[in-house]
Symmetry: C2
Subunit: 337 residues, 2 copies
């Protein structure tokens, strides 16, 4: 089984990406990796030839400043476009990992790989920490689709529920709808219509959730349109970083240097826990093949985790599960297009 | 000048409400207050007759469990409905303060008081803390209007900008649009259309803001539809409270009890700063008379501040400013209804 990795996406490329790939093949003896990017630079990092790592030369790079559509169409020699070509053209390549521009990854996935039958809108599904130890929550969609209809949210629910059940080995994840109140009658036009349809799905729909309870750890998957999901995710980042600054100021003010230092030490662990980017990759659910975006700041550990995440999702047949559920859905529920 | 106060709204009613009213008249010698609620219970708290406090007997109470519309229509003897009657029927009563059910206050304001000419959707405008000392930011709308058109967001911008300029004595507040990216082309259908119209308004529109930068203190007013505004506000609450729990757990784990205790002491001040409810009232902007909702947990200090906030807004002619700006807007910009 092979995974293709964009070696030149993200702030720490190419060193951390290549090192993460090496860690991954050391942890999984059945795994081969194809790295795309500047061949000479990758070879320098590898230092010696490694049997289970191939290189596909791609001297160009897509940056966050590039327009995603233009970049995917025109930068044919970029590490990301080459990675999509490799994914598309080879049956034994089961997934793609990139820490590059989110917009370009989403655009490339749609244009080059296409959607699972029945899914009209693939969606980004990152993970947030919760206050319960070891418990995370998945947000779908977090920004790929800023204008949604209820049909799309039903697909997000099916996809994220299937994804969670594999990652957490939990057959029946609790799925909630992000809303402005917990009561069934609450919401805007979109969430009210979605609520009534979610009740009919073959998933464990537990009702509405308000943004203040997202980190409670009481639910596993939160379904939302991409605009509100983006606001939610970025608020969490913003408050965590804002509080971090305020705590630093408090610690500096503290006349007992020891206590100030202890506060900061304790807080560093907490800040890491609150870092929404440290939780591996966010898959772009609903594409014909697995495409996982990791954060631009991902280090080798995160890259390695993300590659192994792709393997796990493939081995547990995520896309087949999604396709079957969507098929079941379209037979059961008539939704407005 | 008179302000009417619902003495039986909120968790701390009636004692904290009545005490807050007494503090307010002590701080402003030109102010009279009308308290609505169970006359005997209010008299018990007052202990003696106070010249500038009147009581309007209203034995019934609207709770958070009541349906807002039903409650406003049927509970005619409730402290809130009576307060709206007093506000409506008396020219010298300039505003209303309640810590009761948000839904009932919004419904009462619309049904009993009505809208400023030209404003189709009044909006809730609470205050959030920022990382800059003493600097706050206002969010409009935070949940009163969950389905919006661009026209409504223009009105929110005008109203919140006028409100901020009075509260912060800042003639030209920076107004930003909540969006999923800072670039002009970013957004959903609503924010893209709104962006192009906001540029034409006679306000200081500074562009898009992402949810992660809301607490930066770089802008004064954030304009958003009520659904996304609600997600934003409740995320901030949720993360602040979630981090608070995590810090407590860390502090308890700490074997140096002294350090744990010091951490908690420092953190209490921080938690108070992050408490979105401690910042006085959130006005329901765009009603013919001033209606300000304070949090259900408001204590006497917050109640007093909120009453004085109403006086300040009245004396600085908030509603006249809004009406003039909306008039100017409708002459300048043709918007889709």
């Amino acid at each position: 089984m092979k995974v293709v990795v964009d070696a030149f996406g993200g702030d720490n490329a190419p060193v951390e990406i290549v090192e993460g790939a090496i860690e991954a093949i050391n942890l999984n003896k059945d795994l081969n990796i194809i790295l795309t990017g500047d061949e000479n630079k990758i070879k320098e990092i590898l230092s010696k030839r490694i049997d289970r790592i191939e290189i596909v030369n791609a001297p160009d790079i897509i940056s966050n400043d590039d327009s995603p559509t233009v970049a995917i169409r025109q930068k044919k020699d970029s590490s990301l476009v080459r990675a999509f070509d490799v994914l598309k053209e080879n049956d034994d390549v089961v997934g793609l990992v990139s820490a590059g521009s989110t917009g370009a990854i989403l655009t490339g996935a749609i244009l080059k790989i296409g959607r699972i039958k029945g899914i009209s809108r693939p969606a980004l599904c990152p993970i947030l920490p919760t206050v319960k130890d070891g418990k995370s929550v998945m947000i779908c969609d977090s920004g790929a689709n800023v204008d949604c209809k209820s049909e799309h949210l039903l697909h997000f629910a099916i996809m994220a529920s299937s994804y969670y059940s594999i990652m957490a080995n939990e057959p029946n994840p609790k799925v909630a709808l992000l809303n402005n109140g917990v009561e069934e009658h609450k919401g805007n036009e979109l969430t009210k219509e979605t609520y009534s349809l979610l009740k009919k799905l073959p998933i464990n729909f537990v009702g509405n959730i308000e943004a203040r309870d997202v980190m409670s750890g009481d639910v596993d998957v939160i379904v939302t349109d991409g605009f509100a999901g983006n606001v939610l995710l970025k608020s969490v980042e913003g408050v965590a970083s804002g509080m971090s600054k305020l705590i630093k100021i408090e610690a500096k003010k503290n006349i007992f240097t020891l206590i100030g230092a202890a506060m900061m030490g304790k807080f560093k662990g907490l800040k890491a826990k609150m870092d929404v980017n440290s939780y591996g990759g966010a898959p772009f659910l609903g594409c014909k093949k697995l495409v996982v975006k990791t954060h631009g700041t991902a280090n080798r550990q995160v890259i390695c985790n993300t590659i192994l995440q792709v393997v796990k999702l493939y081995e547990n047949k995520l896309n087949e599960k999604i396709e079957n559920l969507v098929h079941e859905l379209t037979e059961k529920i008539e939704v407005k297009e």
